[in-house]
């Protein structure tokens, strides 16, 4: 049987927290239930990158400002000026 190498999933982001209870509470605040996600431990959850903006916005609205590592989270959306 041919040896298979690692599988890389693109388009994902990771949320980690040093405390499982805090993470659970945070994710409730971020309305994570309707967003695809997968827990890899009680302190780490992987989510689609396309959902990061929504989650971060929800958290900020509730006064939680997570440390963001990696590229900027784009919050400006909308159609072109001339497309309206």
């Amino acid at each position: 049987m041919q040896k298979r190498g690692p599988v890389l999933q693109q388009g994902v982001s990771l949320i980690v927290c040093d405390n499982a209870a805090v993470l659970q509470e945070t994710l409730v605040q971020a309305n994570l239930a309707d967003i695809e996600h997968q827990f890899f431990s009680d302190r780490a959850v992987v989510i689609p990158t396309r959902a990061v903006h929504q989650i971060v916005a929800e958290l900020k609205a509730k006064g939680v400002y997570p440390q963001i590592v990696g590229g900027p989270v784009r919050t400006e959306t909308g159609e072109d000026d001339d497309a309206a």
Binding site: E36, P66, P72, D80
Partner: protein
């Protein structure tokens, strides 16, 4: 006044004799003889004539521009480089004096000196080629002596410093830097959306414009600023184009994004380096054209696209004017008109050629370059002397040109006050941009007026600063160092507390999840990735890790070497297999997070799954809850691309029967199948009415089910019609 004479001292008779004997071409000697009388073969006589009374009297007859040119040369001790003389006279408002100076050479009132080592100087050819001003020009020592006093008096009157300058305006470099810092920091935190044509999203741009200090203003623009006003829009594009050129911003797809390392590097560097960098960036501006919008009256006339490189064709011309202004070295007020002439007329063919690609008129471009470009850069101040516009270079402007300036002392005063309400008041005149940059890293600017900027330490701004590398202890030390009064204890406590909260939750944005069946192989591979790409690796388990995405090409190469695969979570690949009625088996290492998340919602996990595999039993109630409408269609759409070879037909029928209606079937006995040779014959067969008594059902284009009891009878009837059976 001329400041750098190429040759000091005037010409003596002996020196002139030597020129005639060894340095001049015969044509030059003929030119001199024709101008002052005598013959070109009698060199001694020519020398006596040049230094005689007759020729001296011709200097008396000079008037207007020619007479002033003589005075300039006299003031320099009798020798001057031709181009320097022309440039100085341009700058003093005499216009282009090329022809006048050439005429003085032609009349041998100005003597041309050869370059070092040059022999057989052919002056008539230089005049013809228009290059005579690229040589040193001189006059006789006796002429210098004769006009010394007059020259000094006249030039002193003319070159009086312009002093009574009123209505001085400045768009200072400090203001530009403040705008660059503010705009770049804002965009670093929230990228600015661009339209398809590269123009900034107007709503986002308007938000930025409110907080910008526009040229000639002291305060930020405020809510009334209108980005549909041509000058406002043009200045915003200028600032964004400068930030792009400095590398503080970059365009990423449809967004303008900040570059933190470049922002940190530029604003923490010293004043001289920033001046030089700003000057170079201005010369190389690609996304802004000073001339296009200078005369714009309507917003449609301002091209604000940041993807259009309309300034690229001006780079050569800008460099050319910079070099002219650098050589002019002026530090006092000058008539704006004279400086425009200097720039436009020093080398018109070169300027015209430089502007050819940009399709700009040289005169208009020079005006826009000075009044808009250099002014907005803060390199120039403008004012009025009576009704005449005057300009001068600022100290920072002189350094941008490449001229040496004295180092400005770094402000030593305490420049801020930290208040218990978490506001920081910064006195702009007592601070510098490096200090402001540090304030921006942990706070939001909320107001700027009367040279006082008010910042606010907020949970978001401080924690964002922490996420970009700031530490509470360092922030507190900085505030204590800069604050004029004690930093409130409540602020210090909160800065520590925000750091504690901030450290708890981390979002790693935009990376890869990597999984492997072989933990040891994964260890080796991750080590290689860390070594080659510098990726940050977060280990999530023996067979799972998360990588940040900072070097995709290297990652792809290393993955190929390890026989790995890449999947995008929004482009599913087959990972599921049906191993029984509605029973799905999946290798969790291969499955993406979306597949696993959905399976957990629509199925129950089965406990006795094969080794390393997970099994799920689809639950009809969960399926209906997950997709209340079009349950079957949604279920199949989810499973089809994720199942090896698609959803098996048997499972598809089972799902249909359980989720919608059961497919019906009937079993028929006592029938015989008749198959015709082709469709045409079958159609004819179906239209034979006497066969209706035998046919039970047509089964397709060629086949019929007929009553088995009557089949012999039918065979006979068909043979009668000629069928071969």
């Amino acid at each position: 006044m001329l400041r750098e004479p190429k040759r000091e001292g005037a010409l003596s008779p002996e020196e002139f004799m030597k020129l005639l004997e060894s340095d001049y071409d015969p044509s030059t000697k003929r030119l001199i003889a024709a101008a002052i009388g005598g013959t070109d073969s009698d060199l001694k006589n020519l020398t006596e004539r040049l230094f005689g009374d007759d020729v001296a009297a011709r200097y008396d007859e000079l008037s207007g521009v020619a007479r002033h040119a003589l005075f300039y040369v006299v003031a320099q001790g009798g020798g001057v480089r031709g181009e320097n003389l022309r440039r100085e006279m341009l700058l003093d408002g005499y216009g282009d004096t090329t022809d006048v100076l050439a005429d003085l050479v032609n009349k041998s009132l100005f003597i041309v000196l050869p370059n070092p080592g040059e022999v057989l100087l052919d002056v008539p050819r230089l005049i013809e080629q228009g290059t005579v001003l690229q040589r040193d020009l001189t006059i006789g020592a006796h002429i210098v002596q004769k006009f010394k006093e007059t020259s000094a008096t006249v030039l002193a009157e003319e070159s009086e410093e312009i002093e009574d300058v009123t209505r001085i305006t400045s768009s200072s470099t400090e203001t530009l830097e403040l705008n660059l810092l503010h705009v770049a920091t804002k965009i670093l935190h929230t990228p600015l959306k661009l339209n398809r044509d590269g123009t900034p999203h107007r709503r986002g741009l308007a938000k930025l414009a409110r907080e910008v200090v526009f040229p000639d203003a002291v305060n930020e623009a405020g809510p009334d600023v209108d980005v549909n006003e041509p000058r406002v829009l043009d200045y915003m594009v200028f600032v964004l184009a400068m930030a792009l050129q400095l590398g503080l911003l970059h365009i990423e797809g449809e967004y303008l994004e900040g570059v933190q390392t470049a922002i940190d590097g530029f604003f923490s560097s010293g004043l001289s380096k920033r001046n030089r960098t700003l000057g170079d960036a201005f010369k190389g501006l690609r996304q802004w054209n000073e001339a296009d919008s200078f005369t714009a009256e309507k917003i449609e006339d301002v091209n604000s696209s940041l993807s259009s490189l309309r300034g690229e064709g001006l780079i050569g011309a800008r460099g050319y004017v910079f070099s002219i202004l650098r050589r002019a070295r002026f530090s006092t007020w000058k008539r704006e008109e004279a400086v425009e002439s200097l720039c436009a007329l020093m080398d018109p063919p070169f300027l015209k050629q430089s502007l050819k690609n940009a399709e700009n008129d040289p005169t208009e471009w020079v005006r826009a370059f000075l009044q808009r470009g250099l002014y907005w850069l803060g390199a120039l101040e403008r004012g009025m002397e009576g009704n005449a516009a005057v300009i001068r270079f600022t100290t920072r402007g002189r350094e941008m040109l490449g001229l040496p300036v004295k180092d400005a002392p770094k402000p030593t005063d305490k420049s801020m006050v930290v208040q218990p309400n978490f506001e920081i008041m910064v006195f702009l005149d007592a601070t510098d941009i490096s200090t402001l940059h540090q304030v921006y890293q942990v706070s939001e600017r909320v107001k700027l007026s009367d040279r006082v900027a008010v910042f606010k330490l907020t949970p978001e701004s401080v924690q964002r600063g922490y996420s970009m590398g700031s530490k509470a202890a360092a922030v507190i030390a900085f505030l204590r160092d800069q604050a004029a009064v004690e930093v409130p204890e409540s602020v210090i406590f909160q800065l520590h507390d925000w750091e504690r909260i901030h450290k708890r939750l981390v979002v790693h944005h935009g990376g890869y999840l990597v999984r492997s069946h072989d933990p040891d192989a994964l260890d080796l591979w991750l080590g290689q990735v860390k070594h080659d790409s510098g990726c940050v690796v977060v280990r999530l388990g023996p067979s799972t890790a998360y990588l940040n995405n900072n070097d995709e090409p290297i990652l792809t190469k290393l993955l190929a070497r390890a026989n790995g695969t890449v999947v995008h979570i929004d482009s599913p690949v087959p990972v599921l297999r049906f191993d029984g009625p509605l029973l799905i088996t999946v290798d969790p290492v291969d499955a993406d997070i979306i597949t696993m998340w959905e399976l957990a919602r629509i199925a129950h996990e089965v406990e006795d799954a094969p080794a390393r595999m997970r099994q799920f039993s689809l639950d009809l109630e969960l399926l209906k809850r997950r997709w209340p409408t079009n349950t079957l269609q949604n279920t199949v759409e989810f499973l089809e691309p994720r199942t090896f070879d698609g959803v098996p037909a048997s499972q598809r029928i089972l799902l249909q029967s359980l989720l919608e209606s059961a497919p019906s079937a009937k079993v028929q006995s006592h029938v015989t199948l008749i198959r015709l040779q082709d469709e045409f014959t079958a159609d004819l067969f179906s239209r034979v009415h006497e066969f209706d008594a035998y046919v039970v059902e047509r089964l397709g284009p060629l086949a019929f089910a007929v009553d088995a009891v009557k089949v012999d009878e039918l065979r006979e009837r068909m043979i009668e019609l000629g069928f071969v059976i």
